[in-house]
Symmetry: D2
Subunit: 320 residues, 4 copies
């Protein structure tokens, strides 16, 4: 292939730029021309794109966000939208496409591949809710940001002997909450995948109080409840001083971690190599610490499993 394009789609992550950097550099190293499509599939459908030269992506690896912007595009779910997308690619002589986004975005890549334009997906979402890869690009950074914010919140809670319910991102997937909780010495981790009994949490908190352990951090996954409601409920049952705190868009932004930067580099290289070999309809990722690629249909049919092993390790450590 001589001309490829790249787009970022769906909720943004702080590692999209690092992936773009890798795609552009690797493609340039292979003599390919790369186009950046602006605002995801919307830009693809409406012909908003621009050539990306290696010097334009210099020094963006450590910058959050995405220089080609991201968006959600309902139009891409329609046959008409998809045809327009193919038309744009044909107009620009683009032979292959790399899509950085979540599994919603991957469906567009699959459709385009079926319509004759090889497309490859790179898993970009902070939620880590994609089954075929151990880690998505952005997850480590989001967890890192949230854990550091809890480090800060705890020093305040310790000053006043308070309890705090901290809500982190993750609508259907508790991975962010689980990793944040483990990394930040959370006393309780509440995720959508594991039923929890608030009465038991309250009993436990009161039991701890008897032993002069007054401060608790409860890490709550967005998908497992509302932090304010849960704080109110615990307060009602225990009579203790409970605060709640939603960690918001900071989790989506800022400087990426080294783990994420390297993952972005490696998946970017592999994605370009696949297109260079003429392979579309595939997604790249990391499994068992190795960069892998897989058929996109197979990947999308997998069911994300909760990391019971890590969760149990955590419980084994807390049972004293």
């Amino acid at each position: 292939m001589k001309r490829i394009a790249v787009l970022t789609s769906g909720g943004d992550t702080p590692v999209m730029n690092a992936a773009i950097y890798s795609v552009v550099r690797t493609a340039a190293s292979k003599g390919m021309t790369v186009f950046g499509i602006i605002r995801g599939y919307a830009g693809l459908i409406h012909g908003e794109l621009t050539e990306l030269l290696p010097q334009q992506v210099e020094y963006i690896v450590n910058k959050g966000g995405t220089i080609i912007k991201s968006a959600r595009a309902l139009e891409m779910l329609t046959e008409e939208g998809q045809k327009k997308a193919v038309k744009t690619l044909e107009d620009f002589g683009i032979e292959g496409l790399i899509v950085i986004g979540g599994d919603g975005s991957f469906k567009g890549a699959r459709a385009l591949t079926h319509l004759g334009v090889p497309a490859v997906g790179i898993p970009g979402t902070i939620d880590n809710d994609i089954a075929y890869t151990d880690y998505t690009l952005g997850f480590d950074t989001a967890v890192s940001t949230a854990a550091r914010e809890i480090d800060r919140i705890r020093t305040s809670m310790l000053s006043h002997d308070r309890i705090c319910v901290v809500e982190v991102m993750g609508r259907h997937c508790g991975d962010v909450a689980l990793h944040v909780g483990v990394a930040s010495e959370a006393d309780y981790i509440l995720v959508p995948e594991v039923k929890f009994d608030l009465d038991k949490v309250c009993e436990d908190i009161l039991e701890r109080k008897k032993n002069h352990r007054e401060v608790s951090i409860i890490v709550l996954s967005e998908g497992a409840g509302d932090s304010e409601e849960i704080a109110t409920a615990i307060k009602a049952r225990t009579g203790l001083d409970i605060k709640s705190n939603i960690l918001g868009y900071t989790q989506r932004g800022g400087e990426p971690t080294v783990f994420d930067r390297i993952l972005a580099m490696r998946t970017g290289v592999r994605a370009v190599e696949l297109l260079d070999e003429g392979q579309g309809g595939r997604v790249v990722g990391i499994r068992n610490n190795k960069i892998i690629d897989e058929d996109i249909d197979k990947a999308l049919s997998r069911k994300k499993k909760f990391d019971t092993e890590l969760y149990n390790d955590y419980l084994n450590m807390m049972n004293f």
Copy 2:
């Protein structure tokens, strides 16, 4: 004086430990014994205190929170509470007291001085709402934390061309919002001290949009409104994609800035020197970049003024 005590009171700040460190070391250098009172005035009233040796405060300067804990104590507003407090100090042979807290906490220091125990106040609050000092201990750190969180939030807003209302602390005083806003390139700064017209903000946002400036960060002081309500109102009037984000307890916690660490050191030294000279009923602070001390009554009678000069500098820079 040979025996003094220190307590932290009211909402905590990440610089209280640095002030404790300075007080304990300076006192030790003068041959004084220092007691740490646990949980503010509550601990003073109920006799909860412990000797603090220099080695116990080593390496706490960069740790948020307060090792002697903080609390609010209504009992200290009563004559009975105050007498109990004096009793505790007498029982332990303590001749002077240093109070790290806001102006509510200073009233306790004033009462104790009137009852014969010299007490000196160090201004510890993130809100910067104390009139006699240019800066309170914790303000620079809170502003710094919030500005860095907005740096993160912005990269996400830029990816999606969104507007975000970010709510920062400051119930009656807009200083946190003003400084955060200036430091983080906020497009609008809404504070309790300056009336704002939401219709005009909306018009301006729409005008900017015409010029392809789609992203706005609106920094909102807690005391000037509710971030969610304001976001909803702007959305209703403009039809644009607006998010809101409350920066919570992270502003109270974590590692202090260098500015705050040095301010804590210097005010701690001065507070101990005052007690050493037998002076109570005073507060220390920084004015015109010099460490000062002032009569507590005079200090408490001052009215905090909004920094119109900084605010106008900001406006002068935004008027293009």
Copy 3:
């Protein structure tokens, strides 16, 4: 087992405390008593140890260093030293030992196991120079610190169009340099495992200059040369403005990353479980993203391989 001990040995890492935390909590959850041995094998030989209760290790996960201190102990290489170590363990009724350190430290664990005290190793070193595990505890943090420092250094080099040789840790193993280089957009990565031709680097630098790419960051592994000498040599051959910068002990210290905190937690849990099952002479680690344990003799006989795949990915991206 009812009574176990833990020690940290060799060069320190910022994740040793997180591993201690995990060991103490997991052991407490199983009803075991844990002793902390002070200053590594030296403390073991001379009977310097103390009981560690769960509350004593609270809130140390995010603190660099090791609360039980580390040291190098030549005495442990002698039979006499090893016997004294066994004697101490017997005196305190300690049935098993966990050693957090590099492969030098593991030899002590092996010796003790042979002498009848089951010992388990956790790989704690920033160099990532242990063959049986994909990652050692501290590596991700050291790489993260160094990459962030290079982010800072680069903004200065960009202001002046300069070249900088940045030396990172890694005496025999280029892993730190490789990962730092990839993560921080290094233009050249020099490691002990790959021969490099300084003349070719200089030619390339001059070629880049012709294309107005004036700034280069050269990441140099400690084991591949001396940064000042290399800077001088490049300057002599190119006539350009070259700086050198050694990143020092910051790489060993400070707050651990989330990746490292979680790795510490998981390996700590596994190490305690092994002792609980009466298994000694084993080391724990992570391989293919799974927590594993392995016979210590087998582990020590493995040869560390350079990550050629990552290195080649990097080269593939730079060849434009």
Copy 4:
């Protein structure tokens, strides 16, 4: 004035971009056109400049370095160079100039004013070695970076009971060392302004050791000695385990602090206002916490004084 220019000169600081941002926005708000001169006076002499629009300086406040690059220009010290500079300004119809740099750079501004082009200086240097202003732009950030690096270094020293000599920037001025030392609990602060007796330091270190205070951090100003030599000398006299560490270009780079960002904003506004009033030959700064401006001759004739008050406060706290 309708057309002004801005340049950055001398050693870079991480706050130059924030000052450029302020200058460009303030000027645009006043209807002025702003040119950015590339590479300091060299660019001015050789006609390398470009218009800077407000949108081009968006989101650079938190980015280290300088988008218009900096350089040292010996040519500007000659009459010929100065005349060429004036010629360039005339050719572009530029009526006034803002120079961001140290006092060496200010001499160019003075010369240009004398030659008929009003020029105003903004103090940009991390060393804080300019007498007329309490703080220079970049100082707080450099101190903050160095203090945080020492926080990291200390956790490693504590693990091994070691002493470390940490060298910070400041060739003739000990301000960086003094502030870093105070902020990071340094045990000794060595600056060029205060003679120190290494024998006494060694005695003190040995005395401390007797009291089981084994770890010391010695903050050394570049201008007060060579860290490696001093470490070797202390080692020779005490026989203890001493390390040395030079903090390098990280102090010049990276993200600016909030204090510096606000100072940059305010001095930038004032500098443009002065030009707008037709005033040249002035420098802006901060004194007694107020933004001031002063005649450039008077400013350059002042002698920088060491902050004895802060230094004594530090000593008063260490004398136990």
